[in-house]
Symmetry: D2
């Protein structure tokens, strides 16, 4: 199986958490979703992130869901679990629990209270202490959701200080030059190589980021085959073709990236594709209007047509 480590590449799919219409966890859909993602060719899964509605689950539900995903994945790809928490005791508890179940590692974003460079690096020193020497982890840089702006220098310092941080999820926007800066530091051996996956706007800058040297994507667009295909074409060096594929999906990807309703769009498409049984989002959460659904239909028809043209 592919490993979650400094050399990871490809697509770590940000999974949704499927619910039934009545709001209960949908474990059957969890299975079918895992199968779908793996059939698409993803190289890893990330669960219990923001788009996984992690904060809307009880501690018990979280564990049930993680266990079900891990069982179904059955070691075919590494599974990373979101472990961001306002306190270190809950972070430690969740981490220990999911690692025991077989997770490959965890992902941590900074809490929204951090501002200065010193505050941020001090926080991640405590993360290192909390996670300990045996848990590989991914640093999530997502200012839009956290409000925390980490400069290139701060990220390099965190990476230097963190022997077990093996991956950076790059989601700053605009972040292309930050991405280039970090990759340049790795090239100059100023820091040890880490895997850099990008998640900017659900993949809205994927081709630009791959050109800058990213190792792949960690995002949850409802057409994972697009990200897989783009990554493979980049691996082959066929950038123009990669851009053709990407551009065909861009109008729908853009639609899925709308703040707030994005998750409802994603789940709607996944339900339409038969991946999950229901598009239900737990409260408080967005709901699509009939006009939204018509938009998605129209965009999907155009997408299918355009994909045929470029085949």
């Amino acid at each position: 199986m592919s490993q979650f480590n400094r050399n990871s590449r490809g697509v770590y799919l940000i999974a949704v958490t499927p619910f039934k219409e009545n709001g209960a966890l949908d474990l059957e859909s969890t299975d079918s979703m895992v199968d779908f993602y793996l059939d698409c060719g993803v190289t890893g899964l990330t669960i219990l992130g923001i788009m996984g509605e992690a904060t809307k689950l009880t501690a018990e539900e979280s564990k049930t869901f993680v266990a079900r995903v891990l069982k179904r994945v059955n070691d075919r790809v590494p599974v990373v679990v979101g472990a961001s928490a306002p306190g270190f005791a809950p972070m430690k508890e969740l981490t220990t629990s999911v690692m025991d179940m077989g997770a490959a590692g965890v992902m941590v974003a900074p809490p929204s209270t951090l501002r200065t460079d010193d505050q941020i690096t001090a926080y991640f020193d405590m993360v290192n202490e909390t996670l300990g020497p045996d848990v590989p982890w991914c640093l999530q840089d997502h200012p839009v959701s956290t409000g925390v702006q980490m400069s290139t220098a701060v990220i390099l310092k965190i990476l230097k200080n963190s022997p077990n941080c093996v991956m950076l999820k790059h989601e700053d926007s605009p972040g292309l030059n930050k991405l280039s800066g970090i990759i340049a530091s790795i090239a100059k051996k100023e820091i040890e190589r880490v895997s850099i996956l990008t998640g900017n706007g659900g993949g809205l800058f994927l081709t630009e980021e791959m050109i800058r040297g990213a190792d792949g994507a960690m995002t949850g667009f409802a057409y994972p085959e697009m990200m897989v295909s783009v990554c493979e074409l980049f691996a082959k060096g066929d950038i123009e073709k990669a851009c053709d594929v990407y551009d065909a999906y861009l109008p729908l990807a853009k639609y899925e990236q709308q703040a707030n309703i994005g998750l409802a769009v994603r789940k709607h498409i996944l339900a339409e594709r038969g991946v999950i049984a229901s598009a239900a989002v737990r409260k408080p959460g967005p709901k699509l209007s009939p006009a939204d659904i018509k938009d998605i239909e129209r965009l999907t028809i155009r997408q299918t047509k355009r994909l045929k043209e470029i085949e």
Copy 2:
């Protein structure tokens, strides 16, 4: 015992969560702290609030702590438990669990994502649905920590829509005119009476708020006897004496209200007073410098002297 209901008055003390020097929950200090607060004459306790480091506890620790407090209180005063949560499933779970253990009710603040009036009232409709018909609750209006500004009209609407919301914790600043507006609505019978306790800046506007008609305080200043005394003097109509007492404590109360280090100041004083064994705050959290401790010493000496003068 006094009840947690629409007629509650006096001081609902916001309890700290005592830790040992090594960061573990300190259950012995939990007992001594409960005893101390009750000896001070508080009419209720509020636990697992922001100043109770609730987010730094594991789910297990939270339950252990709540159980210990409830056992020690032994029905002498009502205990309210903070139940704010980003999702309703965890809110429901925690609420059910603490009500089963004997809590008198819960307290809920809005999540920081809410902005418009409609979003806020819709959120509390969901809170009502989540908590159900059997759980009395307190609405916490604390814009400084939540970022959510609820107008007088919005608060009145929430109170109207919420048959089990029996208490408002008023912590908006400036909020004196909002407080007056809500009390006027109750007087005009536009809404049913609710208990209004104030927590502005750890009690920094307590006398002004009592003059406007507040029913008491819900805050955690390390000298609860001040709040108890002020409330009693107001009940007797001796406002000048109440202000004398209050002013004597004001310099230290102000010092305890500093953003960030406030909790460390509070725990330091409680430890100095022998209420809890250690002033330890869990990471990430503030630490006092030697100069801070000197400040507290100096302010305490002056406070003692001033209290003697006004006796």
Copy 3:
């Protein structure tokens, strides 16, 4: 000439403010830019907005620039001037001054301090009082830059209270259902018709917004011919062709919409197209890296190719 009124349609181009390499106002480029925008077929111009670096100009420079634009436009299209200001005295002064020079009206966004519905509607009552009965104005709803979230109900109330607010610049995201709601209110005659132009992400949702019933766009993408063409095709009812044109420009439009560096991208393209002499942005402002410029080149080549394909 087309009028700035409740029936305005088409493209109100958000103009940049051209500077020389040394940072001085470039009045010659101001002329060529006006010519370019008008040759593209825009139906109006908006100047001194956020993307016009208004806050970086002295009062004197603002007036010089407005005068130059108005002279060059020479009444061919209406010119709207950004007049948002933290105080009403400066708002009144700028408005009086630009209306005297021949502007068609002004645009006002709420200051970032507003939160509750009441605060927002009270603010716009003061705007009405400040602008007086003779100045048509456009309400700008742009939460990403202002931090102010105005619900559909609040916008409808502002529109009702504001006899001279003839246009709404819709820039909320996600905002499609808000847009639909306001248009439905107009259809039901709940409020008088206003012109609704959209500016979401520099036009990133233009086709979706036109489908919902928007009257056109108010944005500044460096290829105004795209917006003009999309609006014309919608007017003709050729939605599929409109989407083809739009999708061809989407990858570059998306690139231009990156937070912070977006304005530098826009000015770079305009300079490359010969519209303005220099891409200079005043400090504090973004600068493109060589890799950014390569991205733009690559995207431009692909855009040209794709446009040929769909001709």
Copy 4:
């Protein structure tokens, strides 16, 4: 006359801007206000700050007000003018204009968009470039209003890079340890001495800050004689007496520090004291309720009584 330089001490009073009931600038009250402040013994004046409603004045009004203040002061104390601006062209223009009129220097706070350490220090490098070699200036560190958190390290770096930054207005809260850190750096000659005046909460931590080694206060409490007296007593080494004086004013000072309505409280007191003709605050601005005014009366009576007791 006292100079605005690295050795400045005492009280730089933050002046209000007096308006007539109809909202016009009140130049007669400007004169009487200047006389009052100077009679109180202040060592400097700061005008056009946040509490001076600077953003509500037109450029013309700002100049008229500055000229009037400077004429009345007539070189008896240095006058510092707030020059924070979103762009450098307006900052330069205002600075040149007020220095030509006889101002002693300007004060600059960072714009609210800055987040990382690098962004902040880069910004102040541009401030240095803008102000040039002939304008002494004061760095304002006020996170509550700017949202910008500058660590001790960042402030030290700005001070090092800025040969003409002669004063720090310390308004971070909690900031006592930051204050101690900067003063320690000066003591260790790591940076050149700068004058450090404090403005925390309108002087709410003045005695604590003086104990830590601050050089005085820059704030606008409506009883400047308190700050002058506290500074003089500290100069004499009579700390206990300084604290007695300070504590006597604390209840009213606290009341004046309420967010939003604070300025209305301050102007009300100044009008009651006969310093300015009207308490008018320009829109958008707070208004006192009758209950607020009663609070102020009550607190003033208690303050007078307490002051007599400690005489």
